[in-house]
Symmetry: D3
Subunit: 326 residues, 6 copies
């Protein structure tokens, strides 16, 4: 069965699908009656549901991280679509199911992003190509890379987020290098490799995204260099990178956060490393902005021009332009 396309639901639509319980909050009405709110979602989006007093006993066992069979109808409540359950949700055992169909996911097709990466790889030659291919020509790495989020919360916290972020960084870094006289191919390789450590930093399961033990104790920058070093060592002797080349790739990884207080081991020491750093920031903060103007917590009402409070990711209030320029 095709997954429910949540963004396309209209008031009155009937729903009978499996959805992931993302959040559950138990509350009491002003009249003293227990009720609870659920956030239910799949890869396409999230939908809220209020469970009133009568049905509360029947959802006692429902917890975040479970997949439930939901039967209901879409209604409007306080200006937003939500789900009215017409039957209690039923927990679905997830033994062999495809977990990722229930997790939030990027909306850009993965294939389009891989096509870009493969085209960029095709521009590369010699040692640079060999180094990049150690990861990006390896199907198992590609699979892992494509499911990793960009963060546990914050920018690109989606299945596929790392893949999308990497392509955005490469796009921006390439344009910057073109303009500033840098080495476009080299900075592309830097962009592809800069966050590889995140594949060993985050866990992806129905309970959401979290840190691995290695991610907690070492963070993705160190893990990236350990991964790079491990694979570089597998190259046959005649294909080994020179010392300078090897160190330059590590330097991209180690310096891409720009400053020590943001976790960089060193500050960027080349034009290309500096460009990569700014491209990384532009993708991350740009994504924070595009998500902020869609965020119902920041804009609880449709008339608001400025967010009702500060975005914790951007540490400032955000302007949702209401005028047009054309």
């Amino acid at each position: 069965m095709a997954p429910l396309e949540i963004p396309k639901l209209a008031v009155g639509d009937r729903v009978q699908h499996e959805l992931l319980v993302r959040e559950r909050e138990d509350k009491v009405t002003k009249a003293g009656d227990p009720f609870l709110t659920l956030k239910l979602g799949n890869a396409t989006g999230v939908l809220g549901a209020n469970v009133w007093k009568e049905m509360v006993p029947q959802v006692q066992g429902v917890r975040p991280g479970q997949v439930v069979q939901v039967i209901g109808v879409v209604e409007e409540y306080a200006g937003r679509r939500q789900l009215k359950l017409t039957a209690p949700p039923r927990v679905v055992p997830m033994g062999g199911a495809d977990i990722e169909q229930f997790l939030p996911r990027i909306t850009v097709p993965e294939e389009r992003l891989w096509a870009k990466i493969d085209a960029w790889r095709a521009e590369m030659h010699g040692p640079l190509r060999r180094a990049v291919d150690l990861f990006f020509a390896d199907e198992s790495f590609r699979a892992e890379f494509a499911r990793t989020p960009g963060a546990t919360r914050g920018h690109h916290a989606l299945v596929g987020g790392l893949l999308l972020h990497t392509c955005e960084v490469a796009d921006i870094a390439r344009a910057s290098a073109q303009t500033m006289g840098g080495n476009v191919t080299l900075v592309t390789a830097g962009a592809l490799l800069h966050d590889i450590g995140k594949t060993k930093t985050y866990t992806v399961d129905l309970a959401g995204f979290d840190y691995t033990r290695a991610g907690m104790l070492l963070q993705h920058i160190v893990l990236g260099s350990l991964m790079l070093e491990e694979r570089l060592r597998t190259l046959p002797p005649q294909d080994q990178l020179s010392d300078e080349q090897r160190l330059e790739l590590h330097h991209f990884i180690q310096s891409h956060h720009g400053q020590l207080e943001f976790g960089a081991a060193v500050r960027p020491m080349t034009l290309e490393a500096e460009i990569l750093h700014f491209a990384d920031n532009t993708s991350a903060k740009g994504n924070d902005f595009t998500e902020a103007v869609e965020d119902a917590e920041l804009f609880p009402s449709a008339e608001l021009e400025f967010s009702a409070k500060r975005s914790w990711r951007l540490e400032r209030r955000v302007w949702k332009r209401s005028h047009r320029w054309d």
Copy 2:
């Protein structure tokens, strides 16, 4: 007479040209004899000259900021080309002369940059086009803009530096907006306008670049908004921008330094303003890198792989890659 092309001079070439005295330093040899070093330049570059004991009395009146008639021959000294004076330099009165031919200047042809700007303008319509044209369709503003440096010292401190920097920022911001789903035309207008205040912030004369009184007391960000407001007011009533549009253009100017401690009045509150901020940084720091690897103070010997000291502009040492990737 065509200006001397300093970068093309070879050992043995004879020089008989007018050059600007950029620096003068009086010294004493280990043997106790007075001598002095001059830095002589024009728009194409700079050349050093040592003046020994015998000729010292004849250059007593020569000071930085003067144009002198120089006669000499190019020789090599300590691995660098320098000028051996064969006659004392003679000061040239600069009454009506074209000052700018003696000042350091960008190497990109100005026309190519204007062509880019005019093509970007052609993409714009309605109020955005009208606002941008208030400046960029005005010949006297264009002339002033084209001679202004990007700074008194530091990145783009060249005649034409502001023009070059503005184009770089626009290039990078456009690519970033394209990738991140922003309004490309709008961010281009923001890029064109973000530094207009610098035309009233810096002085350009033979003594070098300096601050105007307004530049010292208010800085270029405030001056930019005062200029924008002044010109916007000249639009006929039917062409006036809406309040939102007017404020958004000011917001680009006021937020482009990103953080208050770097002089922004406010932090960027839109995707486009955030993108402009990072593009501005990428152009500035990128230029710092391309100049650092050419800087004889940072790399006093050709064998150095790392700069001998920190670049004051980048606050770190810089790596001049000696290896090749192709």
Copy 3:
């Protein structure tokens, strides 16, 4: 009908007046019954009221920002005076009413402050007088200035707060200039003009104080300079200020926050600008202290010598001296 003088109410007084609903909080008693607390106020002060279970249904429609007709009697509850409603409050339509009588307001008579300002203006001559009079001799500006708060929350967040703060700053700056050998008249002009931008930064209505769009996007410092420039341009040619004079007035506005990280475009570069900066701080922080020792959230019980928690405005705990020195 004269407004109710809230600070003078005694236990047992009867109240039958129109009051503004400042806050409403819905709660549940330990016994599970719904109740709610209201904060009701006018220009003279604020009074709390608890609405118990029985009356809750009758106040369902009452919301902050509404004016209500209140009938009740003053009683004591937990050591504080509060209102016991004897009838449900009734919402009053506010079409043409005088909004400001319901908003929190400074207690100093406005006239006394204007008298000070006008006496200071009388000391000024020539261009300084002309510049100051562009604002302070304009009745419509005076009216707007007198109703603007000093902030949306924090120091001087009252109708008239900007007027009071401006007079305090001028008082302190004048004494400082007198002591330190500065120009007393000039610093007075700086004080009068330093916060004029706030008239375009804040909105004043029954829902409380908030930011205008211009205030959010540009902040009051930039708006102040735009306003100053606009009015200066209206002076007849023979009355124009010199370039130095014009820039010095802008410099007061742009530097009065002292440091870039607090929003100044430049640091103060003259004795008078530095004095203005410290006088501004003294007024703001001094007001924070006088309000803190009156704040029931900081001093929830009368015996407390030290505030129960940090004041968010002062970022520290505050001492309410219990001893006497005389």
Copy 4:
């Protein structure tokens, strides 16, 4: 013999006086000849002198910190008055001499400042008066206080500087307390006591101002509280301050630097302590400004409108207004 009034000297005046050698710098002319520059001064000011090759052997023993008998005539050199020695300076033994007549000193008469302090004391009663009088009614403390500088270098680094600074702080704090509704008499006492520890922090001798051992190891804030505690203990039992009163006086001393990073042990917790802190800053920074515009290192030429470099005390460039407002 009355001391030479250095600020009143005119070109051509003959000098035959004892002066303190403030600085000596040995140099070599461009022609390779040794020469040296002296800075000679007394309480009224400083005068430079160049000693040329011929007289160099006769001044070999002259060193900073010595008093010398000087014979010469005032001449003009590079736009500044300086002394032309007509005989070699002769070192004067300083056994019992009055050292202070040779040190830089405030120009305000000391008596005028004491009159202010004594008038303020007369306003005080009871424990406050007793505490203040423990210091300011003690002749030996007054003598020590009157000769102490405000700092070893920086603001008020003059004999009498502490006395002048204390009066400035009290003046400004009183006006601020008047305006903000604080206790004027109490804040005056705080001002008088806040820097008493400086009398044990600095040394004053012909070699200039320096730190005592206690000043280096503990700084003036701790020393102030130790001194206050020591004297308070000498009060007879019936005159003892209450615990609150005693702690409040210590709190003024301990909090007057405002923030921990500037050496305060605690942040100000009362209106009066906060006011004292800002008054202290206003006096210190105000003095930095009045000295900066007179400083020949910052303004090496009379035409300069902006200082040629940053003032290290103010960490910024300074504007010397060239226009008039009247």
Copy 5:
């Protein structure tokens, strides 16, 4: 009656003891019924108890800071031991009772710590011994010192915490001085004296630990020097310390926080003062770690390897190692 040994209680044990009410939290069940949770403790530890709807009216008067007679049985709830009350707790009047038996207390026997201190004192001679003995040979000081906590909340917030912390600091500082070639005996004296001011900074009563007025207004560092100075003055003339010695002891106290922003009046200027500073930090942060891994708020479930959130004391998440190394 011996106090109840809370850490040794097993499920099923009966409790009939006096315990201190540490916390009380009133809540409502999902079904709308009131209930409350108590934290009850004595010197050996803390035990939770839930009071359900039926018994709520009988505990209305029970508040934190009271000692109550408790009757109940130990049961298991959500994986943790807690107390099931079988009768309502009864408030015990605390007139002359020994308060400290109810407060949280260090588990190391006090005697063992005093034995260490006395052995260290025995190593000292001459002025160092005399200075240390002014405090540590004084029974009333010892009693006060032994009951003072190390902080009101945070590291060593226990009766006896100051004593334990002081011994830890001395232990670490001695080892460091031994290794780095410092004066072991001197640094021991510095360790013993560094926090003496805390005895006048904190209050200890059944309501928990809090600040004294002097502690709020001056903090423990200043108070320490005032105490030291007061006692040093009592030495007979022939036993007085030299000026250097006296200042060095004060310097230990004033510099032990290392940096001004953490409350030090001066930075450490000797090897021994620097060592003391790091030893102080090691004890404080080390204690934060040992308490963090035992903290049920940080590790709400036994399977957690990383704390569920940041420790506010350490400002980071903490790893509870689950593996073994032996």
Copy 6:
């Protein structure tokens, strides 16, 4: 020939030995004559020599980094011993010579330090021992480790400095762990491994200490983890560390700088990692102090009690205690 023991030289001693030229400075006397100062040294210390006008031509080719044959006699000059050359120094070709005998070296015998390390290793068992022995049971690693300095300049910038620093850190960390209840053996392993990356970070040759390319681009913390990972991989399968064990060793390396802004990839998350961090600081800063009080630049005269200026390593002035405590 045994190396010259520089610290034992007395005035009048004859010198005829090979010494390394550490520094050369060319100067001109006041009389205009050229002269130069040399600093000559070996592993035991450094000695200055002035070369006067007559001998200057004969030392033209002498440069820092060369070993020269020196003939002269020890004399006293300005209160310090220095060398009077009686013959021009002769450059010695250094083809196969033992470079390290000429470099500054720790004074503690290397053997004593290795004995400590080997005793600590003997305490370890199982995986911890295996991991440590991968480095410290490898003779070639030991040789490299023993010649590496602790830094290029600053603390422990000596041949053997890394070995000494490592032992100091282990000593202090062991005592701290003992006191705070940590795992002593584990923290010892952390101490031994924390700086292994420095062996690949610094170069050691006659020109002094410098950075390797890898050291510049990645710094020692990353290099340490790369080295650890590389060697761990060589363990036979049955001897492999568990994932937790492996990550904990990396965590020691990555967190030992304590805070991100000082280069740590993560903050310490265990008691042992925190202890290691403070022990590292104590050794580094303690060494700064012991060297500061011996530093002739900080204490140019023997009477000084406080350093004449700030130590750049400690960022403060230093007190050289002149009194005794025993």
